[in-house]
């Protein structure tokens, strides 16, 4: 397929103006988590169900060749013609020939994402075969000349008024925008198509090797029509849908309807093993004949993924789309922008294999790595992790864009130069600065500071304050090396001071390794492994030469990055073991302090302090799995803790994303600010310097009465000097 170069930023700003889309997705993202939770109420332990699905799929993909052979053999034994298609073109050729051979003129289709993937309907139409989508959403989207914007709800981006227009045009009569009426109009129109069709094409939600059956999970009943009425039934199924046994289908069915549409079961769940009788009119009489059944098993990149140690994970996807429903980016702009044919983060990964890296590269940056999807995915796929891996492979193959390459080579991997530039920036920003925040930027940069103030680089970075804030501890309990990260060092040095104060108050000796640099996250996020390795070595050297008992970072991303060095340098004979030794010493500030406070009986609720709401940073909660400790610390510091809505939803910063896609980052931030406002808190607390940049900037513009503080700052205020 030809790859057109997309103008993603233009597409984003257009979608952000699409009120219908914003409204529909906004309401949906509110309703979905509640409906999903309710659907799982009587399902038993949800984690057990997710683990079961994941394990079943892992076991299957490990022997996918054998499972596919069995599926083919069992289906064939029961009278099905099985065709293995390597590419979309193979499918098209097979079907057009079949239609010619059998005199097929009219096809009815039920839903199949695989057919969307290869643009099948258009091809059949071009070949002169009338092809009708019969799933209501798919039919609407086809009438609109569009592609589905969601894997489960293809037409979620359209309003009833838009649908009425498409219907009026197709049915050549005035159709009012009344949903019940429109559904009946569709029923009437499509019923005729079902009854007159020569061939039905369906997808499949699963294919069972044990008896060659396919399974269909639907609500409208169209798939039952498609598989019952026409004399020929063709199934298009991808390898990733194959499962070994009939009981494995139960493992899928326990979670698929619940996760996809928050139903305990869809209206129809159908399993078909081999051809069954059909009624055919012969010489004006209805006679019973055995149906002709074909199964096309589609590869189109799937088998390459199965053989890939990392990407075989995509076989764990059951296409429930729950990952889209909780994605802060998808729920703002939908699948037409965030996707190619398959939408969202999982869509980006599937696209890389099914459509190629060129298509992937067009929109993969929209994954902000917030990991919310990983908490709902029934197959437990590490969607952000796989996207990061694809970025790494892209860079390994093609390198980085020139300007970024130069910046990384000469600036970030050279700590002294990088830090000098940051110091220079502190001077350069002066014309725009207003106190500690930059509220306006000139011309082309204006978008970045439109709804959010940007933090100014501090006049004196933390590294220049160390002598002043270091307390001499005679018999320290521990020697702690503090890894500040760039943001605390150069933007929030006061937070760095708070960290010193809290740790020193615990009778710990705090050391600041001068040679520490950026943790490397912004670099690895762009896929540059080699530069990240250089940074890692520099940091390991700097931190370990202090010979600390513990290494503390007050930012979840830095914590995660430091620990990740072990994996990053595993093959490095000199640095591998050092990285591993270091990783074991790395602790996140809040969880460490909470533990120490606990030991000293200081982790108790005290009260009398200000009203505070806590923002869970994505990586704090979903990578480090720390969410209770910061709250306990706040209450120990006397704060009255008030929970905000969606406390663990991304603030929209996500490193470089928040700057490059500022217009997309802003509505995500606005939701966060609105949720903070709702609580009536005086202080918004968090434990991540990246989130602090973003939320503080939003508060300054939209809610200036509320201050942003790091948990360390709040703790430090309680400590007497």
């Amino acid at each position: 397929m030809e790859t057109e170069t997309r103008n993603l930023r233009k597409e984003i700003s257009e979608k952000l103006k699409d009120e219908t889309l914003r409204d529909a997705l906004g309401r949906f993202s509110e309703a979905y988590p509640i409906a999903r939770a309710k659907a799982y109420e009587n399902a038993g332990d949800i984690e057990t169900l997710r683990d079961a699905l994941r394990q079943m799929k892992i076991d299957t993909v490990a022997r996918i060749g054998e499972v596919a052979d069995r599926f083919e053999a069992e289906a064939t034994k029961r009278g099905v013609r099985v065709f293995r298609a390597k590419t979309g073109n193979d499918v098209k050729e097979y079907l057009v020939n079949l239609c010619k051979e059998k005199g097929v003129q009219r096809i009815v289709k039920s839903k199949s994402m695989a057919s969307e993937e290869i643009d099948l309907s258009k091809h059949l139409e071009t070949a002169g075969i009338s092809t009708t989508e019969t799933d209501l959403g798919e039919w609407i989207v086809a009438l609109a000349g569009q592609k589905p914007s969601h894997m489960v709800m293809p037409a979620i981006h359209l309003s009833r008024f838009q649908v009425a227009e498409y219907f009026s045009k197709e049915l050549k009569t005035d159709i009012p925008p009344d949903i019940a009426f429109m559904v009946q109009a569709a029923r009437k129109e499509l019923r005729e198509k079902f009854l007159r069709a020569d061939m039905g094409i369906s997808g499949a939600n699963f294919g069972i090797a044990e008896n060659g059956a396919i399974g269909l999970v639907t609500n409208e009943g169209n798939a039952r029509m498609v598989t019952t009425l026409p004399r020929i039934h063709v199934v298009l199924i991808g390898y990733e849908k194959l499962i070994p046994t009939i009981t494995d289908a139960a493992t899928i069915l326990k979670v698929l309807p619940r996760s996809a549409t928050a139903q305990l079961m869809t209206s129809y769940m159908t399993m078909i093993a081999g051809p069954t009788p059909a009624m055919v009119k012969r010489d004006g009489k209805w006679v019973e004949e055995e149906k002709e059944m074909h199964i096309i098993l589609l590869d189109n990149g799937r088998l390459r993924a199965a053989r890939d140690d990392k990407f075989k994970e995509i076989y764990q996807c059951v296409r429930c789309a729950s990952c889209l429903n909780v994605c802060p980016v998808y729920t703002l702009i939908g699948g037409h922008v965030y996707g190619h044919i398959y939408a969202g983060g999982i869509g980006a990964i599937l696209t890389a294999f099914l459509h190629g890296m060129k298509e992937f590269e067009q929109f993969h940056e929209l994954c902000i790595g917030c990991r919310r999807c990983t908490t709902v995915c029934p197959g437990k796929i590490d969607i952000p992790g796989l996207i990061e891996e694809l970025r790494i492979r892209k860079v390994r193959e093609k390198g980085l864009p020139f300007v970024i390459r130069k910046a990384f080579d000469h600036v970030i991997s050279n700590r002294r130069l990088f830090h000098s530039l940051l110091r220079l920036a502190a001077i350069g920003q002066k014309p725009f600065q207003d106190g500690r925040l930059i509220r306006h930027l000139p011309l082309f940069l204006a978008g970045m500071a439109k709804d959010r103030s940007l933090p100014a680089i501090a006049d004196v970075p933390l590294r220049d304050r160390i002598a002043k804030i270091t307390k001499k501890i005679d018999k320290p309990d521990r020697r702690v090396a503090f890894f500040s990260g760039c943001t605390i060092d150069f933007v929030f040095p006061e937070t760095g001071e708070s960290v010193f104060k809290v740790l020193q108050d615990l009778n710990m000796e705090v050391l600041f390794p001068e040679g520490q640099s950026c943790c490397g996250k912004p670099v690895i996020a762009l896929g540059d492994v080699e530069t990240t390795k250089n940074i890692a070595r520099e940091n390991i050297r700097a931190l370990m030469e202090m010979n600390p008992d513990v290494i503390i970072a007050a930012c979840p991303t830095c914590t995660e990055s430091l620990r990740h060095y072990a994996e990053l340098l595993r093959e490095d004979p000199e640095w591998g073991s050092k990285a591993e030794t270091m990783a074991k010493k790395v602790r996140e500030f809040c969880s460490f302090v909470a533990e120490e406070y606990g030991k000293r009986g200081r982790l108790t609720k005290t009260g009398g302090g200000p009203k505070v709401t806590y923002h869970d940073s994505c990586h704090m909660k979903r990578v480090l799995m720390i969410d209770q400790e910061p709250r306990q610390l706040l209450e120990a510091a006397g704060c009255e803790l008030v929970e905000m809505k969606d406390a663990d939803k991304c603030c929209g910063m996500s490193g470089i994303f928040g700057v490059k896609y500022a217009e997309l980052s802003m509505p995500i931030l606005e939701q966060k600010i609105a949720n903070i406002r709702e609580t009536g808190a005086e202080i918004a607390a968090c434990a991540c310097s990246g989130c602090m940049v973003q939320i503080q900037g939003g508060l300054d513009k939209k809610l200036p009465g509320v201050r942003m503080k790091h948990v360390a700052d709040i703790l430090a205020e309680k400590i007497k000097d």
């Binding site: 037409a155 039952r224 209805w286 019973e288």
Partner: protein, 204 residues
Amino acid sequence: MKTTHEIWKRHFPAENSGVHLFPEFEMRAKAVSGEVFRVPGAAEAREALIQLVDTVQARKAVVVESPLQEAAGITAALRSRGVTVYTEAADIAAHADTADIGISGVEFGIAETGSVFQDGYDIATRLVTILPPLHVVFLSSARIVPGITEAFDIISRSFDRGYVGLITGPSRTADIERVLTIGVHGPSRFAIIAVDEEPKGGHA
């Protein structure tokens, strides 16, 4: 009458299943807009059906017989009510699209989801199930399994080839503005007549 019903009785679990699960099944089926009528025996089953026929003023019915229907004399009752009834596959094929009501039997129900399981190998069963606007099924109220897992234990032992499935309430969509709308391509009403008394032998 189709001959598949016996197959599905063979592996129905003796333990952990049965009429005590009916209240949960009924609650779940109703929650998805299914209509449930539990009756003690054949006579009441017949009455329940006739009431349904009257409320929709059915004039034409397509029927695939099942032991419970036979025991209750459903087809004869419909005819005596003046309803035209088709029971042969060829007639069903010709009339299912314009019939007011489709009637068939199902093998068992699932409490967890309010679903019923039907063997649809027989083409007439599928036409009756999917084409008319009202679909009525007959179910033995003792044949309820706790959940999807137990249902698949039964299915996996007997499903070698054919066309089987779960039906859970009427046909539905939410494809326009996520507004739930009942009755798209399949029936807009789905009724379950659940009979406590097991049929003995039947009239066939």
